[in-house]
């Protein structure tokens, strides 16, 4: 049973909604998140976060990977970004 509350924490294990998929749009030269009747145009950071949401890694793990890549502490940003998408039911916990 997925978490009914949208608020995510460091121990949450985010995955994309079954109906959503990541795609690279060759026309816009940009990553996009597609789902029924909707499109989210992603910036580079957003795409980097979502690519790591595989339903196995926790937010803490994702933030650690990205933190090493960008050489800074990103846990708060990652949690907030994914919480916003969870609020729109595009990200699930678990």
């Amino acid at each position: 049973m997925p978490n009914p509350e949208p608020g995510l924490t460091a121990s949450s294990v985010p995955s994309l909604w079954r109906l959503a998929r990541l795609e690279f749009d060759r026309v816009r030269q940009q990553n996009v998140l597609l789902y029924p009747e909707g499109v989210v145009l992603l910036n580079e950071t957003g795409a980097a976060i979502l690519e790591l949401c595989d339903g196995r890694r926790s937010i803490a793990t994702i933030a650690q990977i990205l933190g090493e890549r960008y050489q800074c502490d990103v846990i708060a940003d990652v949690t907030e970004y994914l919480s916003q998408l969870a609020e729109r039911e595009l990200i699930r916990d678990g």
Binding site: R18, E23, D25, E37, V39, E89
Partner: protein, 363 residues
């Protein structure tokens, strides 16, 4: 998020449909089979749409399953990388066709239901469709499609919104669109019989709100507001010619499926022009971009960047001038039109059913 590129194409493959729902948004003057775009013409439209930036494709109608070339069209869309939704009544979705569509790469199927009450559902559809819809739902689930239910709401079923939500839940839908009727085409012709009362709307809004929370994580509920009962108009697809394109069965290309109401504009056809030209340069798509066209009170209104003055199609259909404020807005000088329509919407639910050719005589 607008970047001057469209994100969504609604392909109305045909106006033919076995159902006769009186709330249909198709125009009263329906296009016959002989004028429909061919398979190759539709494929070209999809390719041009993708090149223009379209990411979402709705295969709609009428009933798109009436088209025998639906499978190759879905296949073409999939190869282009489009996220494709089949918008169907479910009638005609056999195992053979559903399997072929899945093999073609179709991702998402949206099936309409008319009501939770079988008798009323069939009365609205103008045919006995419920058993075929149930079979279609079972197939969609079995074959693993992403699955939405769409239910159009109006006076005769709005009081059962809770049952409709639970029916969609029991059908295993990933997503439920509760669409209060928008008054275009056949729905506008049937408005007196379809408009709910303010009391019904208030109760339904509360039930939908509660259900959204209750089903969270299991079934996404999208509630399309009944705009006649709102204070402000809907921000139609982010504004005129911003993200959305509709291609009618005969190739006529519109910024919104309600745009056929606007008789003062000439809408170009993909048979004569490229989709790129129609989107970027055609007079009709440029007509209401930006805010230069706005009259007062929209022009100086703080909400003009939120709802863009509402729906141009509705403004024309109800006031005769597409540049007027959508009369749904309580700030609109002609808002009285809406108040009067709501007041007059009582009495028996006698529908003018949607027929492509001759409407049967009903006593």
């Amino acid at each position: 998020m607008t970047d001057n590129r469209p994100t969504t194409l609604l392909a109305e493959l045909t106006h033919r449909c076995p159902l006769h729902c009186p709330y249909c948004s198709n125009p009263l003057a329906l296009v016959g089979a002989d004028r429909e775009l061919t398979t190759d013409e539709w494929k070209r439209v999809f390719s041009e749409a993708r090149d223009l930036g379209v990411l979402q494709l709705g295969l709609s109608g009428g009933e798109p399953l009436v088209r025998r070339d639906l499978e190759p069209l879905a296949d073409h869309a999939h190869r282009l990388g489009l996220y494709t939704t089949l918008v169907t009544s479910g009638v005609g979705l056999t195992r053979r066709r559903a399997t072929a569509l899945r093999d073609a790469g179709l991702e998402h199927i949206q099936i309409s239901i008319q009501d939770s009450d079988t008798e009323t559902a069939d009365r609205i559809a103008g045919m006995r469709a419920v058993p075929q819809k149930e079979e279609a739902v079972a197939l969609v689930r079995e074959l693993g499609f992403a699955f939405s239910i769409n239910a159009v709401l109006h006076r005769a079923n709005l009081d059962r919104i809770g049952d409709i939500i639970d029916l969609a839940g029991s059908m295993g839908a990933d997503r439920l669109e509760l669409a209060n009727t928008q008054y275009y085409g056949w729905a506008l012709a049937n408005r007196t019989a379809l408009l709910p009362t303010a009391t019904q709307v208030a109760a339904a809004d509360a039930i939908a709100d509660e259900a959204k929370r209750r089903y969270r994580g299991r079934m996404q509920i999208v509630y399309v507001l009944p705009d006649y009962h709102e204070s402000y108009p809907k921000p139609c697809y982010g504004g005129w010619g911003q993200v959305y394109i509709v291609v009618a069965p005969d190739g006529q290309t519109l910024p919104c499926h309600g745009a056929t109401h606007i008789t003062t504009l000439r809408f170009d056809n993909v048979r004569d022009r490229s989709l790129d030209w129609i989107w970027s340069d055609s007079p009709a798509f440029q007509a209401f971009r930006g805010d230069e066209w706005m009259h007062e009170p929209c022009r100086s209104c703080a909400r003009k960047t939120i709802d863009f003055g509402g729906c141009r199609c509705q403004a024309f259909a109800l006031t005769g001038d597409a540049a007027n404020t959508d009369p749904v807005c309580t700030l609109a000088p002609l808002h009285g039109i809406i108040e009067q329509a709501v007041q007059e919407a009582t009495g028996p639910e006698e529908y003018r059913y949607r027929y492509l050719k001759l409407e049967p005589v009903r006593s």
